[in-house]
Assembly symmetry: D2
Homo-oligomer: 352 residues x 4
């Protein structure tokens, strides 16, 4: 069985990656792609690297038009800027499409939190309660019957997947969480801004958005769900000169105090068991063992997140590290994973 | 007045940078450079980029020989691997040289801590008490009359300079310190190892040495001096694909609790005053104001460290960020700064 | 139908890429991988990025042993250094395997030319006449029945595919050919040498092997086949800081003189027709039209080569540019393309 | 003696590098910098890396105003886009300033050639004959008394310096020249365009401007001066992922035919003597000997150009390779070198 899928806003990095994944997907037919900028040109003309797909040579970008899209596709991916996605989601849902939105527009349940972090009113607050946060390893069951999926941000994915099992199992104090993240430049999007020029990024390491980055809103809302109560954490993003990849290092105070190697060993068994139970069978989560630590080059281009952890008997802290590709597991790959769940396909279809 | 200076082990990245700085130094005469590997060849042959200096075309690398070095130079820089430097320091000191060591051999006061972190006995424990830790902004007075200067490590410099004033002023709880650092690949030295090949580092972000990196020993010893008692901290280094630069983000719990913007403003005045008093006149410390945050590209090739800080009313934490060039302020530039102090030259000579 | 395939020497960059391609190949069973260095460890341990394949978690590297390999595999890929591959090819062929060699050992027909360029006698000269040069677009028919395939070098592929149709059609003077190539650092192999450290390659552009690089031998031998007589050309390789990719710019004097746009247009029709006829239906050759020029980022990770050309009425020259991924179309992808031909599979199997 | 110097258009990469060089110049006083975009802000605010200079903290960008500039400075550097520079040069010259223009506006003698390559009429054709092409190694004497210096382009410098001595000595056929160049991304200027984003340039190798790049006009005009007659050459620029650096490989047919090592040796003596005579005493030209080949990392940040050459007895061609920093010897450093000549300072002042 094939599913017809469309992409609205296919000219950015997430859109381009959706094009790549859906062209190669054995059960998806990429039936429409829209881009105001590129309307009329073929996918192969704009993205020569896909030109070996006959579909890429045939399919032309069109102006976005919801009525037309609803005729062309059963599932519509929105790869649009924050705020713009909401304008498309409502009509598409009414016209009977299932919508997978990669923007931040429907990730929060609370319109008030949205206003606090995005500094304007939410454009479609009534839809917030209908959307499902598209983190399949956490919300798989709800995704099966979703009509509107809010695919998570790249930083949130790199923090939530390692943190949620520990929070749920009450192994750590959620308020102690500090997440220090490094992101490749594609995370800034395909935008013509001086800050993201090659010369400005190459040989540059820099923090930004300190101390209140917008992604904190969805991170804290999801952690609150896991903890059963409000959670506030620390998060610092850094821009580093790679194309793809997020490396996150998380610091947490365990609920159970330890200050020697014996204590670390006891707690380590619990942490190991917690992750094994939560993720032991997950196809896209690689729990590292032995001396291995995450490295973004081992996940680039894939939908995999690597996770490793260490207990430090000197400080009594737990350190958890994760690596993912911000454009795949952090955006488009994860969206296709949700698409597979939604369509009843095996979850790894087109992703391994 | 000119001072004769020699470099032992001038073939690594720190050695090469010492060559650069001393060739350009208006009051230093680079009188000898040693390298077993390159003995007999001129500096210009090994480092073509210095060939426009007549001295680089004339000066040849020699085999290291302490008696000869003592005749050639008043001050000897040791740019040798850990453990090897100590073999040269003792005889050179006895022969009347002043020694500036860039290795870790004389940075600690405690031979026991050295053994714990370096896993072998210290080769010259009696010299540990004679050495001065070469962080000029902290130990300037002692450096004036030092015979043996232990120049700090790159990570320690990036952590200690931002942290010490706060610890001294008791504005933060020193045990709460978490330092998350990103380092360019030159920090690994000029070593032919697979891990540091271009292909292995480019498009790679990875933590390493978690949770007990060797540099913790000197960081904690210096913090203890500032705090007036033992300090244990968290430190996580990461390898990122730049040639030069360390970016450190420090998380600390202020001694004074705050949880709103008014509290942050009150504490912020104290933090700002603390830094202004400690570093307001320092030529190599750039305290950033306004919205500016540190960026390694603004310090590359210079002896400057950039420092900025933020108070987060949501979490009650202080975040301090620093950027430096690991080979200059983190190694050779700082060593030349100490050299200037030792020789009675203006501290910025040859460095600005 | 599945084909059992083994890789000898699977620890270098070409070997790793063969592992990637064969793990994903729907008609290949990766039955053995050898590596002296990694014997006993699983593929997933050495290459974590393949760990989501169950086969990678099960398959262990073994010591290379021809008798065992002949029992395990029908087709054996040799990803070994030049000179070493020949030691394996002869016994494997005798034991009935088909061999696809990625080294230079069997690319030349002439043992004398081998001696001239590789400075030692060929270790198995009698096999030279049995091998087929594995450039599918040129030697497809011979590859169908080959027992020993010599897969081309990365630079030769980037030069021969654009040049051979023009030489065959006598549109250019083959002796006028100048090929100026830029290569990513993976082309140097996974070797622990100072020259290929991140710090030595990043922010570095440098020619090497001027004027007589070893790859000239196979380039000139293949051009001679196309021209029907001896050919000598100019070739300059450069090392540039990318992981993957070769960009080649070729300068040639057309057989037909022109010095204005009308002449260029007439000749242009012939050049366009020549390429269209030679490669119009090739799945892995992308002939660019309009204003597009090759870019290695459009072919990275794929088996595609991009080709574009321009006629310059000012100089009367033809300029042809190509881009490929040196590890895929320049090595392992092309080897799998030959494997597909050898096995009677559709040529794009596992490659698109 | 100090000279007052101003920079018009100091916000691009060349302007920023002029700021760096003039702040450090012992005989220049940076008296004014203009930038519409940054007017009112200090140099230190816009370029934090210069903040350790007191002058950078005091000096503010102003709106460009010729009358004011003429009062503030004796020498005015124009670091403006092509076409804009001419609007400032004429009034500044009339007001008595000496002008050093880094744009292409005054590099050509022929307004017709300007129109052909820049596709519009020259805005101040009467000034073309008054300007001196600022290649000090070639036009040193004329620069001493120039009022308007047209500082060369980065590609032209990398081609002309290696080629002119050979052309003048009639050792090569100038019409045979092919120049294949690689440029770092700063060559494109600080412009917010998608093509120069980090993600678009990193892991990308691409030719552009084929076959008629604008810089050909000044290259051919200068070669014609050296050859004593019209010259047409081939030139292909490529964009590669480094911040700084141009690597040029030049192919030429020697006037004297050779086809063996003896012939190469005879011709090699003449080529070596030609370069030694032309450049043996030049402080900024490094003639490489032995096996050394140019590498941009050996010239980055300096005003030096590296040159090496090889004769190929197989093809009878001469290959000459050069490396320079496109922003220093290719732009601002060379402009300061001309400034030193103009002012009667030692030519290396502030540059070594």
């Amino acid at each position: 069985m094939m599913k017809k899928a469309a992409i609205v806003g296919a000219s950015g990095y997430s859109g381009e990656e959706l094009v790549r994944l859906l062209l190669a997907h054995p059960q998806a037919e990429l039936s429409a792609v829209t881009s105001r900028q590129y309307a009329g040109q073929t996918v192969a003309q704009i993205f020569p690297k896909f030109a070996h797909y006959p579909r890429a040579r045939a399919l032309r970008f069109s102006e976005p038009n919801c009525e037309l899209l609803a005729k062309q596709a059963e599932v519509v991916f929105l790869a649009l800027p924050h705020g713009v996605a909401a304008e498309f989601a409502a009509p598409l849902l009414q016209l009977g499409c299932q919508v997978i939105d990669l923007s931040a527009d429907f990730r929060l349940k609370s319109a008030a939190v949205y206003r606090e972090f995005y500094t304007h009113d939410h454009p479609a607050p009534d839809l917030l309660n209908n959307s499902v946060y598209g983190l399949p390893e956490i919300h798989r069951d709800q995704l099966k019957n979703a009509s509107l999926i809010a695919s998570p941000g790249c930083y949130p994915t790199s923090i939530l997947l390692p943190a949620i099992p520990l929070v749920k199992a009450k192994l750590i104090n959620p308020h102690s969480l500090i997440a220090d993240s490094l992101s490749g430049v594609s995370g800034a999007g395909r935008k013509a801004e001086l800050d993201y020029l090659f010369v400005e990024c190459n040989e540059s390491l820099r923090p930004y958005g300190v101390p209140k980055h917008r992604h904190l809103s969805e991170i804290e809302e999801q952690l609150a769900l896991a903890a059963g109560g409000k959670v506030t954490i620390q998060f610092t993003p850094h821009l580093v000169p790679v194309n793809r990849g997020i490396l996150t290092t998380i610091y947490a105070a365990p609920a159970e105090h330890f200050n020697d190697t014996a204590g670390a060993a006891r707690l380590g068994e619990k942490v190991g068991a917690c992750y094994a139970e939560a993720y032991g069978d997950e196809p896209f989560i690689r729990l590292l063992d032995g001396k291995a630590l995450p490295d973004t080059k081992n996940v680039a281009g894939t939908n995999v997140i690597e996770i490793a952890w260490r207990l430090d008997p000197r400080t009594g802290r737990l350190i958890v590290m994760s690596a993912l590709d911000n454009i795949v597991k952090g955006a488009s790959g994860q969206a296709v994973q949700s698409f597979n769940i939604l369509c009843g396909f095996p979850e790894t279809t087109g992703l391994i």
